[in-house]
């Protein structure tokens, strides 16, 4: 193969240098001045997730405080990624602030498309950077020991179950905190599902659970939680240095998880093989699902019959939340931690105003205001800051915050769904194979063998095996150290 004039390493170096130059040129000292400008305006590109509605509902407060007008445009997930990549490639200043999925960070940072926020954070004490849960920063915002974004909505995973059904079945309430969860295992979870599946509750025949089965992305989001709890890891070594992306997806642990995932599907509505995230949440809120686990925003979203319908669902006051079980009693747990953060494109012409907005929207005060928005129900409890979890007002609105916080603190977004470069390609083939195993098109063993082969082909084809670019010891401990350093501690 003949080499092009620029290697990837050279490109990354050039990108880093350009980023540093940009950072150096930025007049951080003028941040305060921006707040006084009444004629500045910024464009914000976000995604149509529930948090976006809450953000838009309180953005006027930012404009009133700073004089900066905010033009928010919300897009669907794929449309947002397409629009952003197109803008980055053409180097057009499409937006000043963008919503960034945790899986895009490595791509955007390594390509020099977004700028590091380290300098902004370290020179702005108002950011209260030390208040962020390090697990959220680690999972959503850091890459190669720099902070690229700040979390706007963090999601862990947890259980929702029907208390009335449990009472009818004579089952004890599930543990809502880790302190009570010593013996709480996945086998207990399955035993309960088998007991409640097919039970009659007030004339409704109940399904034990529901899965999110649509391929490729939705099913990976739910399956990867079970699989990580069972000890599955995607690669030989990541995020600890040196990175070795040789896949380890075809493991005994993952085979056990996939077989149990198929058990979950047998206890679910058959059509859930095509369910997206919201389909599963809506199904629970319609009242014929006994228990399921999902992203934590559904702890509050299921109170509505459907998204933004404003109609209370039949399960209001009839369900509780619980912590996820472990594979063995008292064993290790790892929780999927995902969500969205706000970043700044390198092409933004209003970087100071953009930083003001990012700081404000991810700040404790704005996050609380978002949590208090009541438009057809409360729509935001996806906090990333400790102070929001400690807030009495928010705990009164969202009584499950204690459970959610405990799940957050076990969160590891870099292990459950590792945001390595080309993650989306891997997720694409993985989700397809899981879905095919569910539908019986292939066996569990065959699905994992194929996934392993495809992972190897993709990773080798994309020059990730062997990995020729410098690694970084991307651990939670290093994120904590970075957080302390940028907070001036």
């Amino acid at each position: 193969m003949s080499k092009c004039g620029i290697s990837r390493r050279d490109f990354l170096k050039a990108g880093g240098a350009a980023g540093a130059a940009l950072a150096g040129a930025s007049p951080l000292g003028s941040l305060a001045r921006v707040a006084a400008q009444s004629d500045s305006a910024i464009n914000v590109l976000t995604v149509g997730d529930p948090w976006d509605l809450a953000l838009q509902s309180v953005t006027d407060q930012f404009t009133e405080a700073t004089g900066i007008t905010v033009n928010i445009e919300s897009l669907g997930y794929t449309a947002l990624q397409a629009r952003l990549v197109n803008a980055f490639l053409t180097q057009s200043a499409d937006a000043d602030v963008i919503a960034v999925d945790q899986m895009w960070i490595s791509q955007y940072a390594d390509n020099g498309w977004i700028r590091s926020l380290d300098d902004f954070i370290s020179m702005d004490s108002d950011a209260h950077f030390d208040d962020f849960l390090p697990e959220c920063l680690y999972s959503l915002s850091t890459w190669r020991n720099q902070v690229w974004t700040l979390p706007i909505a963090s999601y862990a995973q947890g259980i929702m179950y029907r208390t009335d059904l449990f009472e009818t079945a004579g089952l004890d309430p599930l543990p809502s905190s880790l302190a009570d969860a010593g013996m709480w295992t996945w086998e207990d979870y399955f035993a309960i599902l088998e007991q409640i599946n097919g039970m009659d509750l007030d004339g409704t025949s109940m399904y034990g659970t529901t899965v999110i089965g649509a391929q490729p992305v939705p099913v990976v989001h739910m399956y990867s939680q079970l699989s990580a709890s069972y000890g599955t890891r995607w690669f030989t070594q990541f995020p600890e240095a040196p990175w070795d992306f040789t896949p380890t997806i075809n493991s005994d642990a993952n085979l056990a998880a996939l077989n149990d995932w198929k058990r979950l599907y047998e206890l679910s509505p058959p059509e859930s093989i095509n369910y997206l995230w919201f389909d599963a949440g809506t199904r629970f809120s319609q009242g014929d699902i006994g228990m399921f686990y999902h992203w934590t925003p559904y702890f509050y979203l299921v109170n509505n019959e459907g998204y933004l319908t404003g109609t209370p669902s039949p399960v209001v006051d009839k369900f509780e939340t619980a912590v996820l079980p472990t594979l063995t009693a008292g064993g290790d747990q790892v929780v999927s931690l995902g969500g969205w953060s706000l970043g700044m494109p390198s092409t933004s012409a209003n970087q100071e105003a953009a930083w003001q907005f990012i700081k404000w929207a991810t700040g404790a005060e704005a996050q609380k205001a978002m949590g208090e928005v009541n438009v057809k129900g409360y729509q935001f409890a996806d906090f990333s800051r400790q102070s929001n979890y400690d807030d009495a007002d928010l705990n009164a609105i969202y009584p499950f915050l204690g459970t959610q916080l405990e799940m957050m603190k076990l969160g590891d977004g870099k292990v459950v769904r590792p945001p390595a470069p080309i993650y989306t390609s891997l997720e694409g083939v993985y989700g397809l194979q899981i879905n095919q195993a569910m539908s019986g098109q292939v066996s569990s063993e065959q699905a994992l063998r194929t996934t392993q082969t495809l992972f190897e082909n993709i990773l080798r084809g994309n020059q990730m095996i062997p990995y020729g670019v410098e690694s970084f010891d991307d651990t939670l401990e290093n994120t904590k150290a970075l957080q302390a350093s940028l907070s001036g501690m």
């Binding site: 193969m1 003949s2 080499k3 092009c4 620029i6 290697s7 990837r8 490109f11 794929t78 990624q81 397409a82 990549v85 980055f88 490639l89 791509q107 390594d110 390509n111 020099g112 498309w113 089965g213 649509a214 391929q215 509505p269 058959p270 059509e271 093989i273 095509n274 470069p421 080309i422 993650y423 989306t424 390609s425 694409g428 083939v429 397809l432 879905n435 095919q436 569910m438 539908s439 019986g440 098109q441 292939v442 495809l454 082909n457 993709i458 084809g461 994309n462 020059q463």
Partner: protein, 296 residues
């Protein structure tokens, strides 16, 4: 110095030249650009620019990392069966419209409506109609004893692709019907009257007179619809996203996944060229067999 005769001879070419140049730029340049990219390693997830010349690696990866073969099979199945069903259903409706029965004027107006819907809208409409819990179609079919898969028609590997074909047929059969009806109107009635005088039966008249006279329109229609069906994306995206598994994956959905989700530009370019070659072969074979006798 060119004389007046030479100038007049060249004038048509001069007048056509701007259009030809624009067409070449719009068709050939993107294809050439894609061809060039198909031999380079260019994945936007790892680099914003092509990194190195990768030979045939992208073409190999199309078969190694994407479900290309199954997507090709599904695409061909959808295209051939869909075109076949839509043509004959459309022909039947056109013949019915041509009978001048009462209410056919209203029927013609109503027929065009599905075609005016965006495929995405039609997809969402049928997603709800096919919903296994409370959807109208499963409810009706169960009512008459037709077996409905527990996962629903869109969730079952055996029925997902056919459900997409069904929705496409619902939407595009009227298009066939209206164009073929226009074709029927253009047939000289005297020819049919002469056949009737000679004692030709209606079935014989259809095969020997109506169909041959409709061939120029029909051949064009079939070719256009086949190519559209070959590029089916909207309905697949909205109804099944290619699932369950790969049961309803099409080549266009594969292209979308690689190009707009995985951002592997080199791989997508290679896949694009494979699709261009396959479509070109099919269409040229079709045109060869249709036009070789030049009897119409």
């Amino acid at each position: 110095m060119p004389n007046r005769y030479t100038f007049q001879r060249r004038l048509p070419y001069l007048l056509l030249a701007p259009s030809v140049i624009v067409l070449l730029a719009l068709i050939l340049y993107p294809l050439a650009f894609a061809l060039r990219n198909s031999f380079w390693f260019w994945n936007l997830q790892t680099s914003p620019m092509p990194l190195y010349h990768s030979g045939w690696d992208n073409y190999r990866m199309v078969f190694q990392v994407t479900p290309f073969a199954v997507a090709l099979k599904n695409t061909l199945l959808l295209s051939f069966l869909g075109t076949f069903a839509q043509f004959w259903l459309g022909m039947g409706i056109a013949l019915l419209l041509h009978t001048h029965l009462r209410g056919m004027g209203l029927m013609r107006a109503a027929l065009i409506m599905p075609t005016t819907l965006a495929p995405v809208v039609a997809g969402f409409l049928f997603r709800y109609l096919l919903e296994p819990k409370g959807g109208l179609l499963p409810w009706l079919l169960e009512g008459i004893g037709f077996p409905v898969p527990p996962q629903g028609f869109l969730g079952n590997a055996n029925t997902a692709l056919f459900s997409i074909g069904l929705v496409d047929t619902w939407q595009w059969t009227p298009f066939f019907a209206i164009v073929l009806y226009a074709g029927l109107l253009s047939i000289n009635e005297e020819i049919k009257e002469a056949a009737e005088v000679d004692g030709a039966a209606p079935w014989r008249m259809f095969w020997s007179i109506t169909l041959p006279l409709l061939r120029p329109i029909a051949a064009f229609l079939v070719m256009i619809r086949f190519m559209q069906l070959f590029n089916s994306f909207d309905l697949v995206f909205v109804l099944t996203s290619g699932g369950p598994g790969t049961a309803s994956r099409t080549l266009s959905f594969n292209l979308y996944r690689e190009g707009l989700v995985n951002y592997n530009i080199g791989l997508t370019a290679a896949m694009t060229w494979l699709v261009v070659i396959i479509v070109s072969v099919i269409i040229n074979l079709y045109l060869f067999f249709i036009y070789r006798k030049r009897e119409w």
